[in-house]
């Protein structure tokens, strides 16, 4: 058993968060001087092989964060709601998978939610300064006061996680219960998880625990068991233990090799700089042209010619050879 985190203290002096502003390592649409010393990285480890799909994590998340999800319908499956929403930060996804090697049915149940990437695509895509911050312990958190609701974070995210609220038009996702972690607690989902399929601690501890679990799985014939800590996003602060780590996508579409989309990279990278340069160049070229060529003015002669034309007096013919395009 992974040692449970002691119950929280309710004393007023226990409330002081142990990290905050000063520990912000990245801030959306802002330049940040990273803190000189990084906090110990934290991580949540989701052991899919121990998960029984009970949705305690979902319930605990709703309760702790005071979220009111709609009461929906049954759609012929166990998932509910059917997708993440601004009020559902985490969701059990169920996959009935027949293992082609053993022909045995496996019910793969994965808790979906923010992965808290080391290189967060949401933060990269976000245009609103300070709407998304990354603390040096690895938590990626949305600051709703700064959020403008553009939804760029959704496009930036390689895991399709953030959702925009129709109520306050800001983006929501799992905060890794930053309010709890800040007082030395684990996230609400982790605390609730009946089988300790979710554990929380430092990232190093989590990797160690994952090794312990993977050994057990290999002893049970899951040769491909492994840890999901995808390097494409610099690793994540939510990791999975999978029985079939060679094919993450069988777990309800967990990306095999997640990375920030090259399109997003192009948009937030090259396009931004090249675009600004091009626009600047266009404006500068105009200015330069004006300085060099001077204004293009109508002359007295032009006016006279026009008057003559209007009066029916034939204006002077065009200069020879200048109007090849015209029929005389």
């Amino acid at each position: 058993m992974f040692p449970p985190i002691p119950n929280p203290s309710v004393a007023s002096d226990a409330a002081t968060p142990r990290f905050g502003e000063k520990d912000v390592m990245r801030r959306s649409a802002s330049e940040v001087t990273p803190p000189a010393q990084r906090l110990t990285e934290v991580a949540k480890l989701i052991d899919v092989t121990k998960c029984i799909g009970c949705k305690a994590c979902q319930a605990a998340c709703l309760e702790w964060n005071n979220l009111t999800e709609e009461i929906g319908f049954n759609h012929g499956v166990y998932e509910n709601p059917m997708d993440l929403t601004p009020d559902t930060f985490t969701l059990m996804r169920f996959t009935e998978w027949v293992n082609p090697e053993t022909e045995n049915l496996e019910w793969l149940i994965r808790k979906d939610g923010c992965m808290h990437c080391e290189d967060p695509g949401c933060l990269k895509a976000c245009p609103a300064p300070g709407a998304i911050v990354q603390y040096s312990n690895g938590i990626v958190d949305f600051q709703h006061d700064n959020c403008i609701g553009c939804g760029y974070c959704i496009k930036g995210c390689p895991f399709n996680i953030p959702r925009i609220s129709k109520v306050d038009h800001t983006a929501y996702k799992c905060t890794l219960c930053s309010d709890r972690v800040a007082v030395g607690q684990g996230p609400a989902c982790q605390k609730a998880c009946p089988t300790q399929a979710i554990v929380f601690g430092t990232k190093e501890e989590m990797k160690g625990w994952a090794d312990f679990r993977i050994k057990d799985l290999k002893s049970r014939g899951f040769d491909k068991a492994g840890l999901y800590d995808p390097p494409g996003v610099g690793g994540t602060h939510v990791m999975y233990v999978l029985h079939h780590a060679d094919t993450p996508s069988i777990y309800a579409g967990l990306p095999d090799n997640p990375r920030i989309s090259p399109i997003v990279d192009a948009w937030k990278g090259m396009t931004k700089y090249v675009g600004l340069a091009v626009m600047g160049f266009a404006a500068a070229a105009g200015l330069l042209h004006y300085v060099v060529a001077g204004p293009n003015r109508v002359s007295e002669e032009d006016e006279e010619n026009a008057e003559r034309l209007a009066d029916g007096t034939p204006p002077p013919p065009p200069p020879t050879g200048q109007h090849e395009g015209r029929t005389p």
Binding site: A29, S30, P127, A128, P129, N146, C147, I148, G149, C150, G151, Y152, I154, K155, N160, I164, K166, H169, S261, I263, V264, A266, W267, T271, K272, V274, G275, L276, V278, M279, A282, G286, H289, Y290, A293, G294, P295, N296, R297, V298, S299, E300, E301, D302, E303, E304, N305, A306, E307, L309, A310, D311, P315, P318, P319, Q322, H323, E324, G325, R326
Partner: protein
């Protein structure tokens, strides 16, 4: 009323580049009606939308310009207004398109004009052919705007999550955003050209403010158009179009 129905008193078709309201009024100097009130209102709505879109768009495009959101009442308002202004632009521009498309059809002299672009840039118009209501540069702006706005509205709808989130995949939205951004850069450049041309070519502003240019302006920049207007002026009272004033 479009120019399609216009006929000269002798029964000939009015040339494509003569638009309703275009007229010559002799005097000192000659006054040429170039844009009707409707066209001008339409233009300025379009122009305003485009500027607002550029400002709000740039605010969301790069953090360095995020401060521009203040003009719209903050980030949330900017995000909410931008697409609606886009809708205004789209319909407004559609109006301009219907008004101007015919006059912007390519003409033979456009080639020559383009070939002599260096003379254009140097203001040596005596070396250019006589031009209709629009030169090739203006036509480029017109058709460029038309195409870019269609791309922008299409890509904009794809990324307008508030109403259209469900209809496309995230990958499609990503592409849309990239396309929208690039297109926006291009349209802003086209806009710069358009505005600069109006600044550089003196006497142009009057066309979109008072609706009129001087005869000399028309003689210098759009002589063919001026000649056509003069040619259609025989019996102005019978003309079905609405005069500029």
């Amino acid at each position: 009323m479009t120019a399609d129905n216009l006929k000269t008193p002798d029964g000939n078709h009015v040339p494509d580049d003569v638009e309703p309201g275009d007229a010559v009024r002799p005097g000192h100097p000659v006054q040429v009606s170039r844009y009707t009130v409707g066209a001008r209102i339409n233009h300025w709505i379009t122009a305003t939308s485009l500027v607002l879109l550029a400002l709000s768009g740039m605010a969301l495009f790069t953090p360095k310009l995020f401060f521009l959101t203040a003009l719209f009442g903050g980030g949330q308002w900017t995000r909410a207004l931008h697409p609606w202004i886009g809708v205004v632009l789209f319909f407004s521009f559609a109006g301009l398109f219907l008004r101007f498309w015919k006059a912007n059809l390519p003409a033979r002299e456009d080639g020559t004009w383009l070939a002599r672009i260096s003379d254009v840039l140097r203001g040596r118009e005596e070396r250019l052919p006589e031009l209709g209501k629009y030169n090739a540069g203006q036509k480029f702006v017109f058709w460029g705007m038309s195409a870019l706005i269609i791309v922008l509205i299409a890509s904009g709808i794809v990324m307008w999550d508030q109403y259209f989130y469900a209809f496309t995949t995230i990958e499609q939205k990503r592409i849309a955003i990239l396309v929208h951004a690039i297109t926006a850069v291009v349209i802003i450049c086209v806009w710069i050209i358009h505005v600069y041309a109006a600044i550089w070519v003196k006497g142009t502003f009057g066309a979109m403010t008072r609706g009129k240019v001087t005869g000399g302006w028309a003689w210098r920049h759009h002589r063919k158009w001026l000649r056509e207007l003069v040619g259609t002026r025989k019996r102005p009272a019978s003309r079905p179009g609405t005069p500029a004033e």
